[in-house]
Amino acid sequence: MTNVKEVSGVMPHSKSMQVLDERMLQVWRMTGLMTGFILPVCAILLAIASWKWDWPWWIPAAVAVTGAVELWLSVFVIPPIVWRSWSFDIREEEIDLRHGFFTVKRTLIPMVRIQHVDMQQGPVMRKYRVASITFSTAAGVHEIPGLDLDTAEAVRNRIAELARLAHEDI
């Protein structure tokens, strides 16, 4: 198979791909909203300061604009992009992950390599009844960031079960 001329190609999604839970969009928007408030608050404080001590007006203005852009990005732009970039597939013998917007990354993790599975839920995620699944191998940790709580539990148990079946010592 040396030097076969290959057609150009884009990384395909996995064959029987699954997507993240749609509520993850809300979760990311919510967290974006919460962290996105830091800069506007700074801008207000700076505005007060510049009104009081005659600082140049463009400082709070710049911060306000940056804050607005950041808020817009983290609430409206980024969540759907990240959501769309994610897909995964949990098969009998391996887990197939595909994610990334600029650099698309596809990772295949054989079940035998999985050492343990964890389910995690932040406060916002709890509100929306979603959870993330992380699974560790001897060479690092992977995450599926947002699944319906029941699905997540099922997936966790399934991975744990499959990993147990396929387990071997390193």
Binding site: M1, N3, D96, T103, K105, T107, P110, A138, A139, G140
Partner: protein, 552 residues
């Protein structure tokens, strides 16, 4: 049964702990002494005595601490468990089942060598730092421990250990001992066919650490040593040692300049501490003019290089790697000797590196990627510092056959020619931009032109040398920048594979492949190869799933 409290370390361990503490406290102490002591108003006698008292208290406290931690430290081997009791303020009890012990490493510092002692480090599979450290035991005791822990051979309680509690030792019920014996012999049989039969004497003269060092004279040909005197119960099957001429070549080239520079600066700053009136750094900064800087710079680099050479010659002197049973033993060092055990089945991949300067001589170094190893860079993961490239195949075949591939025999795929842009363009373009911008302000910016040219050349070479070879059981990735690296990765050792595609690669249908292996630390070791056809990368990815599951 009376509680058998265990063995203490050699008393020198107390001294070593104390000295280590004093060494760590040396800089704060010096600060106390030097800051106000010598600088302004000379020495006020009262404050001088105060400082002396503080110094004495610190040193005395260190020695007391050293003694106490020695006194509280006890270890014992019982019921197939290594138990360690330690801690002056917080007590810590540790027990490791002998079967869980993965490696037992030995090292001797200068003080150890003068007193005939050995430091023993015991590791299990998890974690990156040793689970138990016996900082000083006699050589005989080290040999006994090696027999017991490493070879899981029969273990009589210590017979001629330096500190013993013979009366208590003998009260271990015979039944327990018996049971343990049979278990021990079973494991010994499994791992070392030659070790079967009657129990080995607990302390068998020059076994263990010295078993390996007796074959230092063996040539770099890999023959089984014929007559190497009284080696241990399991003589090494194969043994390779670093010949002297290669030792110096390795020292000349493998010396890490960065290490040298930091050593040099450490020395200089120490000198400044000891002789504040010299004010070396002031002296240095007083020099002005480009020429002086150049001269000084080259002196610094030269001294650093000398130091680096000296330190790596000392480190690599007497380098021997030998194979016994399922393990590799690496012994090395002139002033400070160390012996590291590598269980062969924990080796995940082999990395063959070739520095630019080694190329004309056809020499290369062999490293291993080992699960849970390599916390100290380039030390325990170095399998051999320098050997002819042509012999590496044979060397690996003798030591770890799983990795013995001849990369030329595998179907090699060079990278597609459209991959060259991703190799050659990015760095030189960046350099060019920097050159252009700095040239606007200063003529020095023109130096960017040769740097950019060098960047183009190096990246071109890196594109030319990058390749992948694969068959059903093996991936061999070759990449090069200044150092050329060949990674020999058995597919069944791969933890997971990734294929990455950047926006630029998307247009040309190329991709980057990343193989992740269990290595040092929790994040493992990763090998990347940029510029494969996406379809090939995905093919390798798909194969990595089900196939590696059924293997092993």
């Amino acid at each position: 049964m009376k509680t058998y409290k265990g063995t203490r370390l050699h008393i020198a361990a107390a001294l070593m702990t104390s000295l280590k503490l004093v060494k760590e406290l040396l800089i704060p102490l010096l600060v106390i002494f030097v800051t106000h002591g010598f600088s302004r108003s000379g020495m006020d006698s009262r404050s001088f005595y105060w400082r002396l008292a503080i110094g004495a208290a610190v040193v005395g406290g260190s020695f007391l601490w050293g003694f106490l931690s020695w006194a509280r430290f006890r270890y014992k081997l019982e019921d197939g468990q290594l138990m360690v009791d330690e801690g002056v303020i917080f007590k810590k009890k540790l027990s490791i089942p002998v079967t869980r012990i993965q490696t037992v490493d030995f090292s001797e510092g200068l003080l150890h060598r003068m007193l005939g002692l050995v430091k023993v480090q015991i590791q299990t599979a998890g974690g990156s730092k040793p689970e138990a450290v016996l900082s000083a035991v006699t050589r005989a005791e080290a040999a006994r421990l090696e027999e017991c822990l490493r070879h899981k051979a029969e273990c009589a309680p210590e017979q001629n250990a330096h500190v013993k509690e013979a009366a208590e030792v003998e009260e271990i019920p015979a039944g327990v001992e018996q049971e343990w014996n049979s278990a021990g012999e079973q494991t010994a049989d499994a791992s070392h066919p030659t070790a079967s039969g009657p129990a080995m004497p607990a302390v068998s003269g020059s076994s263990g650490l010295y078993g390996a060092s007796t074959v230092v004279g063996a040539e770099l040909s890999g023959q089984t040593p014929q007559d190497v005197g009284p080696v241990g119960p399991v003589p090494p099957e194969v043994s390779y040692s670093l010949p002297v001429r290669l030792l110096f070549l390795a020292g000349l080239t493998a010396g890490n300049l960065g290490v040298g520079i930091s050593l040099l600066f450490a020395l200089l700053s120490q000198a400044d501490d000891f002789f504040p009136s010299l004010q070396i750094f002031r002296l240095l900064s007083d020099f002005s003019g480009v020429r002086a800087i150049l001269v000084l710079g080259s002196i610094v680099v030269f001294l650093a290089w000398l130091l680096a050479v000296a330190s790596s010659v000392l480190r690599f002197a007497g380098f021997v790697v030998s194979k016994r049973g399922g393990e590799l033993y690496i012994t090395r060092g002139l002033l400070e000797r160390s012996k590291v055990t590598l269980p062969i089945r924990r080796i995940q991949a082999v990395r063959i590196t070739q520095e630019l300067v080694w190329k004309p001589f056809g020499l290369g170094a062999v490293h291993v990627v080992c699960a849970g190893y390599g916390t100290e860079k380039g030390e325990s993961t170095l399998l051999f510092p320098l050997m002819p490239m042509s012999q590496i195949g044979e060397f690996l075949g003798a030591l770890c056959p799983e990795f013995a591939v001849d990369p030329d025999q595998l179907p090699i795929e060079a990278l597609p020619s459209r991959a060259k842009w991703s190799y050659v363009l990015p760095v030189p373009l960046t350099l060019m931009a920097i050159t252009a911008i700095t040239s606007l302000f200063t003529a020095w910016g023109l130096w960017g032109i040769p740097v950019t040219a060098a960047g183009v050349l190096l990246n071109w070479r890196s594109y030319r040398r990058a390749s992948i070879a694969r068959d059903d059981s093996m991936l061999v990735l070759r990449s090069a920048f200044l150092t050329e690296t060949v990674a020999v990765i058995p597919r069944k050792r791969i933890q997971y594979l990734s294929v990455l595609q950047s926006p630029f690669q998307r247009r040309s249908g190329l991709a980057t492949m990343k193989a992740s292996l269990a290595g040092a630390g929790v994040n493992g070791t990763h090998f990347r190869l940029k510029g494969l056809y996406l379809t090939h990368a995905l093919e390798i990815l798909e194969q990595s799933g089900g196939q590696s599951v059924t293997q092993t």
